[in-house]
């Protein structure tokens, strides 16, 4: 009985550490207009305090990303799984290195994708990990196309 009481009392003490109501509310979905992003360009927007890269990939980049044999990937995922059908040129990824959370630099590294300056992880044009200590591909945030030129993240 006392143990139940102790655990129940401990719960508020731990739970208070999680994001508070205001932080959660501020993490609501955002809409992003894609028209200003020319082919081969990218922008960085912030959602939930995290940088999100939105990249308008060139034909060549898309092809490269789709051609890679899955067996050569540490975290196998096809490019199709990471983009939305019909909008293959758009790559939307969370710009946080899956190793220890630095922001990788876009259009760098030997795969012309992302390069993390902190411990040298290299991602390809699909944001998939190719080399270095990071264990996983750059995360794809939940998002949907509202129209051809507008997405909602979250």
């Amino acid at each position: 009985m006392a143990a139940v009481g102790a655990v129940a009392t401990a719960w508020p003490f731990i739970s208070q550490m999680n994001p508070d109501a205001a932080t959660i509310a501020a993490g609501a979905p955002i809409e992003v207009d894609l028209t200003p992003i020319a082919e081969g360009q990218d922008i960085k927007v912030f959602w939930r305090g995290k940088p999100i890269y939105i990249m308008n990939r060139t034909k060549k980049q898309v092809e490269e990303a789709q051609k890679v044999p899955l067996s050569s990937l540490p975290d196998p995922q096809t490019d199709q799984q990471r983009t939305k059908a019909g909008h293959e040129q758009w790559l939307v990824v969370v710009g946080i290195c899956t190793h220890l959370g630095c922001i990788p630099i876009a259009h760098e590294g030997q795969y012309d994708g992302f390069f993390c300056p902190c411990h040298g992880s290299v991602y390809d044009t699909s944001g998939r990990i190719r080399q270095g200590p990071a264990p996983a591909n750059l995360a794809v945030p939940p998002y949907a196309f509202l129209s051809d030129t507008k997405i909602q993240i979250g």
Binding site: N18, P19, R48, P133
Partner: protein, 690 residues
């Protein structure tokens, strides 16, 4: 060892208290009559040094907390205000920041001492484990303290370290969110780190009490590693150990003061003078020097979870040391093989520290892996094996015999180890500064600065001319937001009178308000106002300047640096070279080339600068001959402008530099006298014991 005290106060009042709370007896038996081995060397004074440093950190920390604001928008500024406006704020801040490094330096010496002399062995296992706990607490405290100034390294260090927990399978991500109190490192993180940074030192103090208690139960180990048996083996704690510890502390203070007054930024990272920016990761994330060996271990393992496990394992393994090393002989003095491996281990640790500061590429990764293997091999293979195969040399019968046996030659090995350690330590701590060397950055030439060295002072004429250059040229794009007009009349500054500073201020238009109608209005500046920034916010600055926001110049001379390279940074410690920032700045201002060298691909909208990392700078050549005229007849050349404005900006970054160096001299004279007196007192007290 501390038997019941026979201490009896004679004063009736004290007697009354003593009968109800025998505290004086406790103090007497623990710190006065307490027997300490006769043969302790100076490595044993680090216990006292550490207690002193803990007290120092708590005292300065409590005071700093009275002036500091733990908020993501205000923390960086509040630290600058402490340094600039609080009386002796610069001193307290330096004491606390350098104090952390000194604390770790002392704890490493203390730990290596324990390792060498086998102080973890029966019956001192619990004592040793308590020490490991203290060390872990210190690391947590130091890490959270480093986050508080909320500079770039603070922010990104916090990001990388908290993300270590995301390696835990299944629950990792939720734990990280729990630590952050948000979806990324942010204000809630800063707030809780502040709270814990305030709490943990007191927890450390509590564990230190247990540590000392355990020490007093088991008695001190000693260089011979044989236990005290008779009266002849020991001397009473007071006066013998007390005076020796005091001398040790006073010598340590000399080193500490050297950092506080002359090298306050030597151990820090220039990047931390740039306010935290969640959108930009610095090129190299380097933790404070005292974490570097573990950081190197983390990075040399290509798997995330394994890397994190190895890193924590490297510390936790220390707690198992008493059982990994089962050799009966304690002191490595009598273990010919263990002694050699110990020194190899020291070199391995220093090597790892060096690598921790290097970029994770090429040869560094390979060497890092080798050293990581050697680190663990020392504990898991070498020590257990040596316990079986090594034949120790005969031990002295007693401590008294040990003392009698060594005459004359006893200081020689001591001196050489001190020198070796100094050099190694220099390599280790300085390696943090070596980082940007790999960037292919051109080294700027060294200049003669009036403000360098222990007696450095600002050249008033240069400060006044530099102010003019800033006002007429730089201020079009760069702010100077931490400098107020009143500062122009401060002692140690450009030497204007209060009236001149007020007149200077009134030439500026300052936005104020709202007034009674609720509107903002402009009024002439007052001495209390700060230099207005040219752009209302960072985005505006970025948009107006082709995507690269011109940085605020208040701290620029401290926020920029260049790799000094090995071994220059070791000499820097002795020559007090602190002018990387000014040297870089003055070179940058004159480093423009009209035509980039053949083969260099200059991006559109950039300019070629020899000294800018990567060479493509967004700032157009700012200075040209004849642009600013000086009243004092100094030449109107780019070289002169560059030098003057850099001098001015150095003052802007550290307005109390002259006070710092002046006080430093007084402190050194005092400390040298104190250390000398303590040394002779110590000799006298110990004359009969040796």
């Amino acid at each position: 060892m501390s038997g019941p005290s026979d201490f009896q106060p004679t004063n009736p009042a004290l007697k009354w208290i003593e009968r109800r709370l025998p505290i004086m007896g406790l103090v007497h038996s623990s710190f006065v009559a307490y027997p300490t081995p006769r043969n302790l060397n100076y490595w044993w004074t680090f216990g006292a040094i550490l207690s002193f440093m803990l007290a120092m950190q708590i005292a300065t920390g409590v005071i700093l907390a009275m002036h500091y604001t733990p908020h993501a928008d205000l923390a960086f500024k509040s630290v600058e205000l402490i340094v600039r406006d609080v009386n002796f704020g610069w001193l307290l801040r330096n004491m606390h920041a350098c104090g952390a490094s000194m604390f770790f330096f002392a704890v490493y010496v203390h730990m290596f001492r324990g390792l060498y002399y086998g102080s973890y062995k029966e019956p001192r296992e619990v004592l040793w484990i308590l020490g490991v706990i203290i060390y872990l607490l210190m690391m947590a405290t130091g890490f959270m303290g480093y986050v508080l100034p909320w500079g770039q390294m603070s922010f990104w260090g916090a990001t990388v370290i908290t993300n270590l927990f995301s390696a835990i399978p299944y629950v990792g991500e939720s734990i990280v969110t729990l630590l952050w109190g948000g979806y990324a490192v942010g204000n809630p993180t800063l707030n809780r780190f502040f709270s814990l940074h305030y709490l943990l030192p007191f927890v450390i103090a509590g564990v230190v009490v247990l540590h000392v208690w355990a020490l007093h139960v088991a008695g001190q180990n000693n260089p011979a590693g044989v236990e005290m048996k008779t009266e002849k083996d020991s001397v009473p704690f007071t006066p013998h150990a007390t005076i020796k510890d005091m001398f040790g502390v006073s010598v340590f203070l000399l080193l500490y003061a050297w950092f506080i007054f002359y090298m306050p930024n030597y151990l820090g990272d220039a990047e931390n003078y740039v306010p935290a920016n969640p959108g930009v990761t610095p090129a190299h994330i380097v933790p404070e020097w005292y974490y570097l060996p573990f950081y190197a271990i983390l990075r040399s393992i290509p798997n995330k979870l394994a890397g994190v496990v190895a890193m924590f394992g490297a510390i936790i393994i220390l707690a198992f040391l008493p059982w990994l090393d089962s050799a009966r002989t304690k002191s490595s003095k009598y273990r010919p093989l263990a002694k050699q491996f110990f020194w190899i281990f020291v070199v391995v640790c220093i090597g790892l520290g060096y690598l921790g500061a290097q970029p994770p590429e090429g040869i560094y990764v390979i060497v890092g892996r080798i050293l990581t293997v050697m680190y663990f091999a020392y504990f898991l293979v070498v020590l257990p094996l040596l316990a079986r195969i090594e034949k120790p040399r005969p031990l002295p019968n007693s401590i008294a015999d040990d003392v009698l046996a060594k005459t004359g030659s006893k200081t020689a090995p001591m001196v050489s180890t001190v020198i070796a350690l100094m050099i190694a330590g220099g390599l280790f701590v300085g390696s943090a500064q070596n980082v940007s060397a790999a960037e292919g950055q051109q080294k700027p030439p060294a200049n003669k600065w009036s403000f360098s060295g222990p007696f450095g002072k600002f050249d008033r004429g240069a400060l006044q001319r530099g102010l003019k250059v800033y006002k007429e040229v730089c201020s079009a794009c760069h702010g100077l937001s931490f400098v107020a007009f009143r500062n122009l009349a401060d002692p140690g500054g450009p030497g204007y009178s209060t009236a001149q500073a007020a007149a200077f201020a009134s030439e500026y238009k300052i936005k104020d308000g709202p007034n009674d109608q609720g509107e903002m209005f402009e009024r002439p500046g007052r001495p209390a106002d700060y230099f207005p920034s040219p752009f209302p916010n960072e985005q505006a600055a970025r948009a107006a300047n082709g995507g690269a926001a011109p940085p605020d110049l208040s701290l620029i001379t401290k926020a920029r640096t260049y790799g000094r390279g090995f071994p220059t940074f070791i000499f820097d410690f002795f020559t007090q070279y602190q002018e990387q920032g000014p040297d870089y700045l003055v070179a940058l201002l004159q480093g423009y080339e009209d035509k980039p060298p053949a083969g260099f691909n200059l991006p559109a909208g950039s300019f070629y600068n020899t000294y800018f990392p990567g060479h493509a700078i967004k700032m157009p050549k700012p200075l040209s001959d004849g642009q600013v005229t000086f009243d004092d007849g100094s030449p109107a050349t780019v070289a002169q402008y560059a030098k003057d404005v850099t001098t001015f900006l150095m003052w802007a970054a550290e307005p109390h530099m002259e006070a710092r160096k002046r006080l430093g001299l007084q402190v050194f004279v005092f400390l040298i006298l104190l250390a000398g007196l303590l040394y002779f007192t110590k000799k006298k007290v110990w004359a009969t014991a040796h």
